[in-house]
């Protein structure tokens, strides 16, 4: 059992601390090659069937990779063609140290048996371990270790061939001298049989510099110069943000300066890409300028030609002006500390021949990227992903390589993929490792389970959810228990029973943080078996639940609260509509109907109490898109319908969350995961207060309670939608609610502004929110049904987790909205419709119009950008636009014609035209009148008619 052969001390000196660690060398580490008869066979995915075929070598071979190949060429390694790869532990450690994301990708390839990768622990093997020489650099030492292992493999298995891939010329040459077969990845891939598609994916870092090309950009300073400059205060470091409207302008947010530094032009930006951490050199004060108001788009083509950009630069310079009071610090980028390059979605720019193509990212703040591809014809029809590899001085555009195609442009699935990628939503299939954590089917409730849990199967419990919901995480019951008291139970799916802390499943769920809902797709936080089956509280099935049970009097006062794990059997999984009908149907007197009625009654009392305390009723136009289940095309867009039962379920969920928050904070004052909604700064309310004042209402914002009251009072009988509009505006003044660890903040900061409660958390949706799983675990400890684990009690770790949850939730929300927007666009494609809308804001040259029917908010331009209208007169004081005798105020109802402008396929947008009130010379006649006039020659109208017909057909 004791296999130490040699004993070596490793010394690491840093910070003047001498660290000595043990390093054991073993004789029980094996090569992993299946044909070997010297080693004890070990689990290895290396395969004798898989063949690496490369025309440079006329034999099958195994590959050994250098670290640089993995770091730079991961997109190539992701392809199935390359297999039988030996990853040395030295390399693996180096990759992990240099880039965690790359390490994770490599790790998942290693885990995949069909890729035939094997990790050889060379640094603990008695024959491949070598000692670091005195004064030897770590890099040189690692290179030497890698070569040593190559030689060992060749010696160990003389019948097999091994090829060492490295992009480090030096290392490769030494390897060749030592008799190792070595070549660069570019050379290898270009001779690879079946590897044609791989060439596009090669990273362009080693791009050779053509000696007769002129440099387009000034050089960057060296790292030492940068650091010295920063230290001396001559240079500033900060994050670079590119302008979306002007490709020759950007800003650098420097912490020590109040204003961001403007950088302009080719030399000013000097190859900085949005998000990069850069160093700027400030100009003298007299050269400072104000931000440009000019819109410049990059019309460049792939040739390394800079005439066009020089022209634009002159244009920019001409427009440069020094508005007093708007002059901001100005400078130029002199160096880049850290690139924030990622993968970008976008399309190819058309009209170019040859292998060099220009890629246009969907994100307007990212420059075009030059890529090399042999399949441009095909890629032009696709949305693709491209990543940047380098940006040499002589190149107008950064060089990158094609990563993969997402699918046809405009295709539903492609767009979903784009939305997910752009919002950083993890959406790959669950890995084998994750799936192996799932319980085996058939899943049965054992006697042990029954002993540990309270059996509630005899109680009539039911769930109420939106139609088509398969991840049911809450169910309710209510029954009289005598003396005028009621027992109310909220039963939440016991997800934490299935997801144990620290397992691969747990880590994956924690990383995903939330289930993401797109219009026609759901990206689960946990695998389907849990989300739609074992955890889902389906009707008629026995399920584990975490119950929160209250005893209440008839006035909804809580007499006592208890929490316990339970076994339930939901009698019925109802929709909101069904539940509403059950309540309203007086002939139904079964226990479910009775229980729903009592719940509804209690909920009303609870809601009233909550509102009296100052909880806000906010509004946001939430829409639902009806999809054709066959073609997956949106049929109709409608505002979500709400029933009384929606509010009923919500009340009890809020109550459960509050009760749980109190309980876990009591037992875990330091590490309870809570949710707070910060009070917004008063300046946030300015637009709301202003809008209220113009309508003659005084919106008080001193406290949530006052705000709630003034919103309730702001009612105009002639414009019933106005109140909703005010609430929409109020919603936009709010800050985001966030998760936090209780120990990280003061008690008075726990407050939830929107709900007007001092404590809140999330307990009720563990299937689709990771925060709830943590809360379940905490609560399980307080009621003695589970134990803690170290990370659960660690304030710091909980805090880090909260940060990820907050980030993912925000992204999930944006992704959901982007998906709705795309489908709304799809629905309106080729249609022309007149719709009712309301003016949300009045601006100098435009009206912001809200169309409640579709939850759309669009801009109606009154004049072209930068011009002033000769029809409208803008009154800044009253926030009105006047044309003749028509005055347009905020919140006025209008009728607008809606159409979609698809000129730019990456950025489609709605175009509005005013229909009523009629303003001659500006508004357009209603569509219905045009139809009467029977003007036929208008092509657009025809398509609009088609749209109407389709709609009528569906309604009939």
């Amino acid at each position: 059992m004791f296999t130490t052969k040699v004993f070596i001390k490793k010394t690491r000196i840093g910070n003047f601390l001498k660290n000595v660690r043990e390093h054991y060398i073993r004789d029980d580490i094996f090569c992993g090659v299946p044909s070997c008869d010297k080693c004890t066979p070990v689990e290895s995915f290396l395969s004798s069937i898989h063949k690496n075929e490369c025309s440079s070598y006329d034999f099958n071979h195994y590959l050994i990779l250098d670290t640089n190949v993995i770091l730079d060429q991961m997109d190539v390694l992701d392809e199935d063609v390359i297999g039988n790869v030996i990853i040395l532990h030295t390399v693996l450690k180096e990759v992990k140290h240099r880039s965690l994301p790359i390490y994770k990708r490599l790790h998942s390839i290693i885990e995949n048996p069909s890729r035939h990768f094997y990790v050889f622990t060379n640094d603990h093997h008695k024959d491949t371990y070598i000692k670091q020489n005195d004064g030897e650099l770590v890099n040189d030492y690692n290179d030497r270790s890698i070569r040593k292992s190559c030689l060992w493999y060749m010696d160990h298995l003389p019948k097999e061939k091994f090829i060492f891939l490295s992009d480090d010329v030096n290392n490769r040459n030494i390897a060749l001298e030592e008799g190792i077969l070595a070549c660069s990845i570019r050379e290898y891939v270009s001779h690879l049989v079946n590897g044609a598609a791989l060439e596009d994916k090669l990273s362009r870092k080693d791009y050779h510099i053509d000696s007769n090309t002129k440099d387009v950009f000034p050089p960057h300073l060296t790292n030492v110069e940068l650091l010295n400059g920063i230290k001396e205060g001559a240079l500033y470091q900060g994050t670079f943000r590119a302008s979306r409207d002007n490709f020759l302008e950007g800003f650098v947010n420097v912490e020590s300066l109040d204003d961001p530094v403007i950088v302009q032009g080719r030399t000013g930006l000097n190859r900085a890409v949005d998000g990069d951490f850069v160093v700027v050199n400030l100009f003298n004060k007299e050269d400072w300028i104000s931000p440009s108001e000019i819109v410049l788009e990059d019309d460049g083509v792939a040739e390394e030609n800079i005439d066009e950009v020089e022209k634009k630069e002159r244009q920019l310079k001409k427009s440069a002006h020094k508005k007093k009071g708007e002059i901001k610090p100005t400078g130029r980028v002199v160096g880049i500390i850290r690139r924030k390059w990622r993968q970008y979605c976008g399309i190819l720019q058309g009209g170019m021949d040859g292998v060099y193509q220009l890629f246009i990212p969907a994100d307007k703040s990212i420059p075009k990227i030059r890529i090399e591809t042999r399949q441009a014809e095909f890629l032009r029809t696709q949305k693709l992903i491209v990543t940047i590899d380098s940006w040499p001085r002589h190149s107008r555009y950064p060089h990158g390589h094609f990563v993969r195609a997402l699918g046809k442009i405009g295709d539903q699935n492609t767009e979903n993929e784009v939305v997910l990628l752009e919002h950083d939503v993890p959406h790959s299939q669950f890995s084998e490792e994750v799936l192996s954590c799932l319980p085996k089917l058939p899943w049965i409730i054992t006697e042990e389970d029954e002993q540990k849990r309270v059996d509630l199967r005899h109680i009539d419990i039911c769930s109420v959810d939106p139609p088509g919901c398969t991840d049911i995480d809450d169910a309710l019951h209510c029954r009289p228990i005598g003396e005028g008291r009621l027992e109310v139970g909220v039963h939440i799916a016991d997800v934490s029973h299935f997801i144990r802390p620290g397992t691969a499943l747990d880590l994956e769920a924690a990383s995903r943080a939330t289930t993401v809902y797109l219009v026609n797709k759901r990206i689960d936080m946990v695998p389907d078996l849990l989300s739609s089956n074992l955890c889902s509280l389906r009707g008629g099935e026995e399920r584990f639940a975490f119950s929160c049970v209250w005893e209440m009097d008839e006035n909804a006062n809580i007499l006592n609260t208890r929490f316990h794990k339970s076994i339930i059997r939901s009698r019925s999984a109802m929709t909101y509509e069904e539940a509403q009908m059950t309540i309203d149907d007086k002939t139904k007197t079964d226990s479910i109907a009775e229980s729903l009625r009592s719940l509804n009654k209690l909920a009303k009392i609870l809601k009233k109490g909550r509102l009296e305390k100052g909880a806000l009723v906010l509004a946001s136009p939430e829409v639902k898109i009806q999809m054709d289940s066959e073609t997956m095309e949106p049929l109709d867009v409608e505002v979500k319908k709400l029933f009384e039962t929606n509010s009923m379920v919500e009340e009890f969920m809020l109550l459960a969350n509050i009760s749980v928050a109190q309980k876990i904070l009591e037992d875990f004052p330091e590490c309870a995961m809570l949710r707070r909604h910060p009070t917004p700064p008063t300046s946030n309310f300015d637009p709301l207060v202003k809008a209220g004042r113009h309508l003659g209402f005084d919106i008080k914002i001193e406290s949530g309670k006052q705000l709630a009251k003034s919103l309730d009072d702001a009612v105009k009988p002639d414009n019933p939608y106005m109140n909703t509009m005010l609430r929409i505006l109020a919603t936009r003044c709010m800050l985001q609610a966030v998760y936090f660890a209780s120990g990280s903040l003061q008690k008075d900061e726990y407050f939830h502004y929107g709900l007007a409660v001092p404590l809140y958390t999330h307990f009720t949706s563990p299937i689709r929110r990771y925060a709830d799983i943590i809360v379940h675990r905490l609560l399980a400890v307080t009621c003695g049904s589970d134990c803690t684990y170290p990370d659960l009690l660690d304030k710091q770790k909980t805090g880090n987790l909260c940060q990820n949850l907050n980030y993912r939730n925000r992204m999930a929300q944006y992704a959901g909205r982007a998906s709705v927007a795309f489908n709304t666009h799809l629905f309106f494609k080729g249609k022309l419709q007149d719709e009712d809308g309301y003016i949300l804001y009045v601006r100098k040259n435009a009206l912001q119009i809200l169309i409640p029917k579709y939850g759309l908010e669009c801009t109606l331009f009154l004049a072209h950008k930068g011009e002033t209208s000769n029809i409208f007169e803008y009154n800044e004081e009253d926030q009105t636009q006047k044309a003749g005798d028509v005055v347009l105020h905020s919140f006025d109802p209008v009728k607008v014609r809606l159409s979609l402008n698809s000129d730019n396929i990456q950025h489609e947008k709605f175009v509005l035209q005013l229909v009523s009130p009629c303003i001659s010379g500006f508004s357009v006649p209603p569509l219905s009148e045009i139809e009467k006039m029977e003007v036929v020659d208008d092509k657009k109208r025809k398509s609009a008619n088609d749209g109407h017909k389709k709609k009528n057909k569906k309604r009939s």
Binding site: M1, F2, T3, T4, F7, K9, L17, K18, N19, V20, R21, E22, H23, Y24, I25, R26, I29, H89, I110, V119, T121, D123, H124, P501, G502, T503, L507, A510, C787, T788, Y789, P790, D791, L793, K797
Partner: protein
């Protein structure tokens, strides 16, 4: 969370190249000093400990402490100022040292047949020369050897071993300092390996109930392995002494 996973690599090796159930290398020597009645030096990985035993002798410093039916076991633990990476200010007398002294005493009281020495006292001094995780276990193991060297009757060996959980799943023994820092909770067990009795058990943090048993079993297995190593060392020591006096030739 992810750091916890790193304790054991995919192919089942720990950071220093051991497998989960392997002890660090233990090297030990009995009778390293001549002045004390018994002494021992023990290395467990890079943790190095010296132990010295004086007694049994008359109770010092106030007869009132003396017991009529048993010997007093007096343990004193100290750490050399150079034993850790940052220089220690006080070699003994701080809270940690006092606690370790008491724990050591508890373990030793369980094995020494102290009823044979009423009205007397046995002093055990241990000094950590270098600390690299598992200080307490090395002290117990060294003290056992020193007691044997001093010829004090013991019921059996008392051995100590640490264990922890790698990747939240795999129990591993004899935790090094590096593993202590980045890992989860550490369980320290001092046991009488032959009879399987546990004389001391301590956790740095709470363990999940599901895991405790297997971690504890691993730690006990570690104690047994350590006993075997100590036993060999004792036999070797006795043979060496014996051969110098000519005993070994008779057997």
């Amino acid at each position: 969370m992810s750091r916890n996973r790193d304790l054991l690599s995919k192919i089942g090796l720990r950071l220093d190249g051991r497998r989960p159930d392997e002890l660090r290398r233990i090297r030990c020597k009995l009778g390293v000093f001549t002045e004390p009645d018994g002494s021992a030096y023990l290395e467990q990985g890079l943790t190095k400990v010296l132990a010295a035993v004086y007694g049994p002798h008359q109770v010092r410093g106030g007869r009132s402490k003396a017991q009529h039916d048993t010997a007093i076991i007096n343990c004193q633990f100290s750490m050399a100022v150079f034993s850790t990476t940052d220089r220690k200010k006080r070699p003994r007398g701080d809270r940690k040292s006092t606690e370790l002294s008491m724990h050591l005493q508890q373990a030793l009281e369980a094995v020494i047949k102290s009823e044979l020495y009423p009205w007397s006292q046995i002093d055990v001094y241990v000094e950590v020369l270098h600390a690299d995780g598992g200080i307490y276990t090395a002290c117990v193991n060294a003290a056992t050897l020193a007691l044997i060297d001093a010829g004090i009757p013991l019921k059996e060996y008392v051995c100590a071993c640490t264990a922890s959980l790698a990747n939240n799943d795999v129990p591993m023994i004899d935790i090094s300092h590096q593993e202590e820092i980045i890992g989860g909770p550490t369980l320290t067990v001092a046991a009488l390996p032959m009879s399987g009795k546990i004389v001391l058990m301590e956790m740095s943090q709470r363990f999940h109930m599901d895991h405790l048993e297997k971690v504890l079993n691993k730690a006990l297995q570690g104690c047994k392995d350590i006993r075997q190593i100590l036993d060999e060392a004792v036999r070797l020591h006795v043979r060496d002494i014996g051969s110098s006096t000519g005993w070994a030739n008779t057997s």
